[in-house]
């Protein structure tokens, strides 16, 4: 049976420490600046 996780438990899971060196993926856009930003 599928039981909905209590918010507290879910919140606990969200606090799971990231592995060392974890780099969140860069947003796909906007891209890199080639010259300078005005």
């Amino acid at each position: 049976s599928v039981a909905k996780r209590a918010v507290a438990v879910a919140a606990q899971h969200d606090k799971v420490p990231r592995p060392v060196g974890f780099v969140p993926p860069l947003p796909p856009c906007p891209g890199k600046i080639r010259h300078f930003d005005i």
Partner: protein
């Protein structure tokens, strides 16, 4: 289970860069005035699949003006992007492309260019000369004096003005007006023009010879005029490049606006 939709393209992915390159080449190839623009940043990309190997791509591009006039044969890669201190001009473009079997074609583009804000320039560079309006009296005087000066000294073809590309006025130290303008060779020598300048017309397209001039008129501390004109030599003309137009704003290509 239906196949998962493809991950959204990133703006720095090779496919996005290829689409942006096709878009910038199209924009420069169909621009009729002003300067060539180079890609500065891919702001956004959206791919709408139409079927197998058939996508519509919507691109949002941030371009920067280069020093190459649009009539210059210099390849875009060799065109220097104007620096911030030269009062840079930015182009914002929305481009719609189609990619069929990997072949990209531009369906529509709409661009608008605008100069960087004067406040931003002066904040970083208080003495930098700012862009002046192209119909500023001093600018028109400088261009006219420069072209007359060049035509009075040249042994070659009498040149006529095509369009003023840009102008800057330096108020201190001293007072100087710097201008850049595009010119076209006529069917007269400068000597013949002295006799009857009305007869001097731009060469027909199949013989056209365009060029580019820079001129600086210094008024203070003393009066001085420096002029330099370079003709590009005859090139095969692009489809239809109207000779005169209002520089500084890139127009949406009529009938091809992005819907």
């Amino acid at each position: 289970v239906p196949a998962a939709p493809p991950a959204p393209l990133g703006c720095d992915d090779p496919e996005s860069e290829a689409a942006a390159e096709a878009a910038v080449n199209y924009i420069n190839g169909h621009s009729h005035h002003g300067y060539k623009f180079a890609l500065n940043r891919i702001e956004d990309i959206r791919v709408v699949p139409q079927g197998p190997n058939n996508d519509i791509i919507f691109l949002e591009l941030d371009l920067l003006e280069t020093r190459c006039h649009i009539l210059s044969p210099t390849p875009l890669d060799n065109c220097t992007v104007r620096s911030f201190a030269e009062h840079a001009v930015e182009g914002d473009c929305d481009v719609k492309l189609q990619r069929v079997d990997g072949i990209l074609s531009v369906l529509a583009s709409k661009c608008h260019s605008h100069a960087d804000s004067s406040e931003d320039i002066l904040k970083v560079c208080p003495d930098c000369p700012l862009l002046a309006s192209l119909n500023n009296t001093e600018v028109l005087e400088t261009v006219s004096a420069a072209l007359n000066d060049y035509n009075s000294k040249t042994t070659g073809s009498y040149l006529r003005l095509l369009e003023i590309g840009r102008a800057q006025i330096q108020h201190h130290p001293g007072h100087a007006v710097a201008t850049e303008f595009a010119v076209g060779a006529t069917n007269c020598t400068a000597k013949e023009a002295k006799a009857n300048v009305e007869a001097c017309q731009l060469l027909p397209k199949d013989q056209s010879n365009f060029g580019f001039c820079t001129a600086v008129l210094t008024k203070l501390p003393s009066q001085d005029l420096q002029v330099d004109c370079q003709l590009y030599g005859h090139q095969v003309p692009a489809p239809d490049i109207p000779l005169l137009s209002r520089p500084g704003v890139t127009y949406a290509h009529p009938g091809q606006d992005t819907s």
